[in-house]
Symmetry: C2
């Protein structure tokens, strides 16, 4: 066990590492050549352009020669904290702003808890000498923990009272935060202040989606599972259905095309284009030597051809294919998916449609709020209801096996990838491997590498699972992945560190153990693992966060791309990789710290300062990154907050159960009834919060909708909503070619048809069917292809 000294040394090392990262960051960020790596957000927003414009000397374009700026190398920290929250919301979206509030939540919860724990509990723990007399090996940290209290002591009442205190404080902070975030969300959805801002965006390629207005979010409804009809096309079906059932509110709709193949082709063309650029650049720099390549596998064999001609021909072929596919998609009715984005004249109408059941069969005509255009995950729009159930089942089973049995394939790989089998398979490597240094390196390195690779790919695997499950927005995908990632971490990092053995062994153990024994087994081991988790927090939390700000990988990739691929300013813009907040990996990490903090708050309060430092550091770093780096992929208006809330509550309940288990082994079992009430009360608190605040994240109140409608009607009575909403929801592959808007739209939807139909059949044809405006924009896209 580590002594306080060991912890001190580890802390010093990690603080130095973090400091070194910060120093490197401070050096690199003020070099103009790295400007696009460390401030991509401003480029994307069009508020900053390449330094070449204002540079004077040639060198100053690449290296910062102003020595004074080196002395202020930590000045990014206050700068990151200066931007007020409303401005931050304007600048980076509500998602990012609320994401930062999770770190603040951590500070708000653990600050006072740490204060009380240090003033009350540590003296109580310290004032015993159970461990000294026990003859066990123990560390100084343990002397400050609950382990130092003698068995059956009345001092456990302190811990009990503090457990209550901490629970109430946590619940209070959680409730307040939920309230604030819900209010922020409703305010954000209602405000259209954002609109003009977002229209000033000038950058083109990466941000072509930003142009959509916030209005879409609350005027548009996504309808899925349109039942097939042999006599009518999807567009007619949708139009007639909504004309009949929402006569006063329906405005127009946009169909969804199955453009998955097209999007593949476009991606391939982009890749080939990159190679073409590479060779063209090479040729330009050295015109005497025209580049060539072999056409075979990996360029290792095959005929040698001229590289530029070769790739030019492929790009041309792909362009033709793309045009053909594009035409096929827009002309072939089979590529129309049974889904549509329906626009309404009023927010009220959209709110009504999104919240109600449309047809007798609740699995058809499913309506829900349309996600933001950027947020749509197009491939999943056409999955029928039955398959959704089956897909969820399969994903759940797969996740179960992934969580509990992931060690099995890794162990197999590890057993195969030892030195003997490598020597057998590749005998010519034998002399190299037998060199002692290389051998020991391989022996030390190989067993770990399989696990490392797996953990590196875990978020991707979870994301694939979520995609398979059929969620239709990126935000939902990320939320789902996050909750799975958290569960995985809970089982394999938290429980896995406390109880040694693989997750499956634990599971097997738990199944054969009584349910009252499980909290005991875990609870007893908890105090002993405190030092391990302190080290974990420093390595994963402190150094990890400091590493995040350095952005080593994007830095290298950007410079590689910049030297080999970039020809124009636009290319350089594409070479930037701003990255995103990546909720699916970031949030579970924070949650692990919430869990650790709550579990150890009563048991080993020494852990709390380390967690507080993490939250503070991460808050500053991520605030800086969100302001200067990350590009907002989508805007879900903080739809993830209920998940955050429920996971903190779950951590709270876990901490209470483990404390109960721990105390029951300390012969303080008279406290058990009092400890059982805690989780019951916490669950009640959760249910209250769910009823009180969660609807704000799933529904849009009619009162708000009506208020905004009335306001808008009074302010801009002549707003051409239809033209405004025209091209909002087009698959990204169509977008890239289509930058012109068409305002000239037939006006027939303006006069809603009031149809007294008595027909109960599946076809509602209230008026002579016209081909809706939904195909028009696609036709325009096709016209682009036909241009010479």
């Amino acid at each position: 066990m580590a002594t306080l000294n060991d912890i001190g040394v580890a802390a010093a090392i990690n603080i130095l590492t973090a400091f070194a990262f910060f120093l490197a960051f401070a050096m690199l960020r003020i070099q103009p050549v790295n400007d696009r790596v460390y401030f991509p957000k401003w480029y994307i927003k069009g508020l900053r352009s390449s330094p070449s414009v204002n540079g004077s000397a040639f060198a100053s374009k690449f290296v910062n020669l102003d020595l004074r700026s080196y002395t202020r190398f930590l000045n990014w920290m206050p700068a990151a904290l200066q931007m007020p929250e409303p401005e931050l919301i304007d600048h980076a979206g509500l998602d990012s702003a609320v994401y930062l509030r999770i770190y603040l939540l951590g500070l708000k919860i653990f600050g006072p808890i740490a204060l009380i724990a240090f003033t009350v509990m540590i003296p109580v723990n310290w004032s015993n000498n159970t461990l000294e007399h026990s003859g066990l090996t123990y560390s100084d940290i343990d002397k400050l923990s609950i382990s130092n209290i003698p068995i059956g002591s009345h001092k456990f009442w302190t811990h009990l009272v503090l457990a209550y205190g901490f629970t109430f404080w946590t619940c209070y902070v959680l409730k307040r935060e939920y309230e604030i975030v819900a209010a922020m969300r409703l305010h954000f959805l209602a405000s259209d202040q954002r609109r003009p801002d977002q229209f000033t965006v000038t950058s083109i390629s990466v941000t072509s989606f930003i142009r959509e207005s916030s209005l879409d979010l609350i005027n548009k409804v996504l309808v899925r599972n349109v039942p097939p009809d042999p006599d009518e096309s999807v567009t007619e079906l949708v139009q007639h259905f909504f004309l009949v059932n929402h006569p006063h509110h329906y405005l127009s709709h946009q169909l969804v095309y199955n453009a998955n193949k097209l999007s593949e082709l476009v991606n391939e063309k982009k890749k080939i284009q990159n190679w073409l650029d590479f060779y063209q650049n090479k040729y330009k720099r050295n015109p005497s030597n025209r580049p060539s390549l072999k056409t075979g596998f990996l360029g290792l064999w095959g005929n040698r051809v001229d590289a530029i001609d070769f790739y030019t021909s492929i790009v041309e072929r792909l362009s033709r294919d793309i045009c053909g596919e594009r035409e096929k998609v827009s002309s072939n009715t089979k590529s129309i998916m049974p889904a549509a984005f329906v626009s309404f004249k009023t927010r009220w109408g959209a709110a009504v449609c999104a919240q109600t059941q449309q047809s007798r069969n609740p699995t058809t005509w499913l309506t829900e709020w349309a996600p933001e255009p950027r947020d749509v995950f197009w491939e999943n729009l056409a999955i029928p209801f039955v398959f959704l159930t089956i897909r969820r089942l399969i994903a759940a089973i797969a996740f179960f096996f992934l969580t509990f049995f992931f060690m099995i394939p890794i162990a197999i790989v590890q057993s195969l990838a030892n030195i003997e089998s490598i020597e057998k398979a590749l005998p010519f490597l034998k002399p190299i491997i037998e060199v002692k240094i290389i051998k020991s390196f391989i022996q030390g390195f190989l067993p770990g590498i399989a696990l490392k690779i797996f953990l590196l790919f875990l978020p991707t695997i979870l994301m694939v699972m979520s995609k398979f499950e059929g969620f239709i927005s990126l935000s939902a995908l990320e939320r789902r992945s996050a909750s799975r990632y958290y569960f995985f971490q809970f089982i394999n990092v938290f429980l896995g560190s406390i109880i040694t053995g693989t997750a499956f062994q634990q599971l097997n153990h738990f199944i054969h153990q009584s349910s009252s024994q499980i909290p005991k087994t875990i609870g007893v081991s908890i105090p002993m693992k405190a030092t391990f988790f302190i080290t974990y927090i420093m390595v994963d939390g402190w150094a990890g966060v400091a590493g995040e700000i350095l952005r080593l990988k994007p830095l290298i990739i950007y410079h590689l791309k910049n030297s080999f691929l970039v020809k124009t300013e636009k290319d350089r813009e594409e070479a930037m990789d701003p990255g995103t907040v990546s909720f699916n990996t970031g949030e579970p990490q924070i949650q692990l710290y919430f869990l650790l903090g709550l579990v150890y708050a009563v048991v080993t309060p020494m852990l709390l300062p380390f967690i507080i430092v993490f939250f503070a550091l991460a808050y500053v770093v991520y605030r800086h990154q969100i302001i200067n780096v990350y590009h907002q992929e989508y805007e879900s208006a903080a739809a993830f907050w209920p998940d955050v809330h429920v996971r903190v509550v779950a951590a709270l309940i876990v901490s209470q159960l483990l404390l109960m288990g721990l105390l029951s082994t300390k012969e303080a079992s008279q406290s058990t009834p009092l400890l059982i009430t805690l989780p019951v009360l916490t669950i009640c608190f959760h249910r209250f919060c769910k009823g009180r605040y969660e609807p704000a994240f799933a529904r849009y109140p009619l009162q708000e909708a009506m208020m905004k409608d009335t306001l808008e009607r009074a302010k801009e009575a002549t707003l051409n909503l239809k033209g405004f909403l025209q091209n909002a929801y087009i698959h990204p592959v169509f977008k890239s070619a289509d930058d012109s808007d068409s305002e000239s739209e037939s006006e027939w939807e303006r006069s809603p048809a009031l149809v007294a139909t008595k027909r109960t059949s599946k076809r509602f044809t209230p008026m002579p069917s016209k081909d809706g405006g939904s195909l028009l924009s696609l036709d325009q896209v096709n016209d682009e292809c036909l241009k010479p």
Copy 2:
């Protein structure tokens, strides 16, 4: 253990008992004097009147002298089956018709299962002689059960395959039934064919609520938790809110008055009136002796007064109090609850309002479908949201203790109520108690009586709990009580019979046992309890059902009332106690049989015929009772079906888990993975059904609503909906005095106010406020009081 012979004897006894009940019933029902006991439904519907009208001789008014009718004493059975289902729905409501389908569901599930079990499983079980060689005592029933298969035998595959087969069959039947019931419900809600029928009702007092039309169900929305406003009354608040937020659809609203005290007074008056009638009748029969009574406790001491004068004065005082209270309720704003029934012009508008969130704070302006007027539980309409959470918590905790600790108070009562303590407390009884027969009777009887009384009052206790929880309709109260009653029975009857010991001992046992051990512990005991459950089914099921048709208690009470209280024909009508289907006790009983059937289908198929007989018998009996006896208290349009469905699915899962536990002790553990898949698949099936069919029970699709609206507008364009809906929702105590309708209503709501308000404050005052029509009807009620 019982042999086949024992079972045969028990069966014979129970069959004879049931037969005796049927015979007695057949005798009693054809006596004209009992006509109102056995055919009250027809009296209530006004299709039958007292036999005095068509009787010729005096005796034939009381005794049936037609001997031929005695020979056809079982002819009620085919008669009960003859009425086709649509007619039954018209006659007794959809609730009753669907309730009968639960019995049919039992027959549909267990008929084919029994057939296959008997042709396949019983030969497989019989063809072993494990039990003969085991040296254990065993019965013939056990020879037919799974116990007879040797350990580790391959014959367990038969059971495994059949478990799969039975699961699929059950799921198939359940799904089909859900589909049918959902369709029946939607059809019922949509059809207004019922309207004219229900207007023809002539009976007055009991059925004064039947007069409301089905239209109410789908045009009315109940809004609760109207937030208090210092400047506006509730009626203004409601009116303004809906005029602003549902401008095109809002029609009118009715306030809810807190008339709990008034209703108490009315009930007391009715009770006193009964006594007055009793003494008046007594005096009429024997005019020489004017009845008198003592005013003290139970009439045992106090001043002797003239009974008729005494009660007349009380009745007069109560009448005055009632009028005073009535005036107070209607004039005092404090008696207006923050809830209202809001009517809409169209079904579409009501469907929208019921399914959407109204205000930013989801705990105010709660909207939901208004229950049928008869179905409203008035007292609970004003509970705020926070208290609902707390009340649910308290009720859940209370129910937990009730289920697991109910034996403790009973044991205390039992220990107190033994002979010694009685002798100590009441020494003068000693000589009587010491008589041997009485002593042994008390000793045998007393310990049981506390338990019996508790079980008798259990449904009432559960109902009180549900009321405390704050449900606002009788149907919801009954549904909740039913699910609690089922859980109680599951723990205390099913598990309690299998594992001896009190529920709390079981719970304690289970907590200290591993979760894989629990199904084993129970599963192993299951085959041994088959004979017990067979006897239970015969006593509780067969004889119980036969006893139900005899209606002994209502028979006695009716004749008592008839001789002492009845003066007029109206009194006689009130003396009838038709009773109701009482879903809260009936359905859990059926569910217990589903559970037993599914658990024993694979283990001891001999049990199945007994269950099938129960379902068949109960179906016929309850069909007869529903047609001839039960009065429909409310109509929830089969809202209980999702509960029925989920409980059968739960029984299925329990049966699968127990089979898994049983087989794992038989060293057939290679079957475990296959058996684990079964519950997983079943849960998936449940989730699919929930998504596919449950919305039909909670929401009303807009397509349907629009269709009906359009149809109605075409058919009766001039229907005065407002007058029609005027007095639908008035507290029953007001109803009794108010039989006149007022059609003359101000027409101002006809022209909806299109208000462009920008106000975001809590007060929406779109137009000069007029006092809505909601108070009018109450004023009329008050006018009644002022009449001389």
